[in-house]
Assembly symmetry: C2
Homo-oligomer: 351 residues x 2
């Protein structure tokens, strides 16, 4: 394998820095990919800094990968050299359990995540997309339409599927009133998807400064969630609310906005627990609080095709690899609209 | 109207005592009912003692009513004098809102509950089934099969529908693995229904003394929920778990027993909040925590017909009206298997 440049961190308190890694030689079903762009997910920070307590160092983060096929194992079907492809949060799973059989590999008990995960194929741990190339089993490689800007498509691989999957699972469509809580990397994708699916979209934010952005991105209405009166005006009117805010906050002011049989779906685990939700709010309209985790590979491809059809990509700020540590600091101050994407061409200057 | 004997309480700390009330003369759509039996629901105690903060005194509790039709308004259709009927938790609703139109009167914003509720028809407050007779709009009167023991059928009107409705709503049936948490007035009905619906039924209890009862009532398995190892053996295996325990307790040890897309449904509001549930448990298998409230009138009739078909009634202990205060004390010590039912014939001795 040619030398693979990457950026890695070596413990929870160190910045990311240049690092060389080994990728495996492509097996019969593997695809070798030159990485063009990699989105920067907030979970990259959590894991790099071991905030979830499961860090494996050295760690090369990155699971929003867009690249070009540069090599194909002899059993690969349906991919071509030079084709634009994507890799998301997963690079392997057992492929035999009920979840895998149902195309829900994200719920498999032995999913191999794209980075910071024991690698059953080559031993060691997986290294992610903050690198010049990657080798992935074809099952976990996605086709990316040339209609999509490749840099702006990178965040679709995590932020995109994380919001698309629950909207689809709970059958959001025309005639539905859908809330999206938070306008960040996930939330801005949720607004775009819910709008494209035909729903009436209401964005909830604590930041009045985001109202105009939210409307431009597709929200029909924006509600400042601290405004009790504005919230009360929407009581018992939502079919579905997607909560993209992982910080601990009171869920009751949102569950009471749901219609009978409505669902509040959470896609982020807060560092501190949310205040215990009101069971009365659930019982008196048979409401539900649910969780959702990224999406399966088949659904990720469906989402990417939906994006190509509806011209949906992320709103991004492109950075060179060398600025990743500053980007992390800006993300911690919510100073990004709405996703950083690393241009991996910047790594070539270091080679 | 003939004199109506009842038992009432006059404030949160007094015992129930004999009391005479006025029932309205039956209107064109009303049915007059001589009450034979009335089940004693734990919510009767909560309300009599103003533990929910909404008590209206004097209060005549009781919403698990079985009786005989003694009078019919001239527009009543489908009921006959002498017929056995039931009345549950509701005696009126708006009949026009989307919830009412969908036969989900329990979620109507202006439901009139059978007792302790402002009565829009006659003014004052509603008085419940701890009384010799009641007058109810025909829409809220249920047909009770003569195949069912009338005393043991009384708890079907609240405990029955409260457990039947969520099992039906979440499509419990053959091939499903269903958990019921708690073997009390609600839980023992949940076990019977889930079994009759064809599910594999697992009863969770903290009381080893209830194992044999649970199996006799229909549970295929009984798990002592404090036994961590026994609980772990059921990880990620349940389609649906019905939580009939209203006391504050940790929900995580149950959510983790749900399969992907499984639901933990709560039917009781705890006095103290449950510990905040793990959002990770919800996200990693797309699980849900939901609430459910009794059931609509149409579904209550369906449940009663299901009971007649499957010979399902409650396990009861019959008491005279005069022992209601002692019964409350025993209920607070969980010393009842599994529902007290008042024999209203006992009131005649006082007339």
């Amino acid at each position: 394998m040619p030398k693979t440049h990457a950026y890695a961190t070596h413990n929870a308190t160190l910045p990311l820095e240049p690092f060389n890694i080994e990728r495996r030689n492509p097996g019969p079903k593997d695809i070798q990919i030159e990485i063009l762009y990699c989105g920067v997910c907030h979970s990259d920070i959590h894991q790099a800094r071991n905030e979830w307590g499961n860090a494996l160092y050295p760690m090369v983060p990155g699971h929003e990968i867009i690249g070009t096929v540069t090599g194909l194992g002899n059993e690969v079907i349906g991919f071509n050299i030079g084709e634009r492809v994507g890799v998301g949060c997963m690079v392997d799973s057992c492929r035999t359990c009920p979840d895998c059989q149902d195309h829900q590999e994200q719920f498999c008990n032995s999913t191999t995540f794209t980075y910071n995960s024991p690698d059953k194929i080559s031993g060691g741990n997986t290294f992610g997309g903050y690198s010049s190339q990657i080798v992935v089993n074809q099952h976990f490689v996605l086709h990316i339409s040339e209609k999509l800007d490749p840099a702006a498509a990178a965040p679709l691989l995590c932020a995109g599927i994380t919001t698309y999957s629950p909207l689809k699972h709970w059958n959001v469509g025309k005639g539905d009133k859908v809330g999206i809580i938070g306008l960040g990397g996930l939330g801005h994708m949720g607004v775009k998807f819910a709008r494209a699916m035909g729903a009436h979209v209401v964005l909830f934010t604590t930041s009045p400064g985001k109202i105009s952005d939210a409307k431009r991105l597709g929200a029909h209405e924006v509600v400042i969630s601290k405004d009790i009166e504005a919230m009360q005006a929407h009581r018992a009117s939502f079919d579905f609310i997607l909560n993209t805010v992982a910080a601990s906050h009171n869920l009751d002011s949102f569950t009471e906005l749901l219609k009978r049989d409505g669902t509040l779906c959470l896609v982020g685990v807060p560092d501190q627990p949310h205040p215990s939700p009101s069971i009365g709010n659930l019982i008196f309209k048979r409401r539900q609080i649910a969780g959702s985790l990224i999406g399966g590979i088949q659904e990720t491809q469906e989402m990417l095709d939906f994006c190509a059809e509806h011209q949906i990509v992320s709103v991004i700020e492109i950075i060179p690899m060398q600025q990743i540590n500053q980007a992390y600091e800006r993300m911690l101050k919510s100073d990004v609209r709405y996703r950083f994407v690393i241009d991996l061409a910047s790594l070539k200057n270091e080679s």
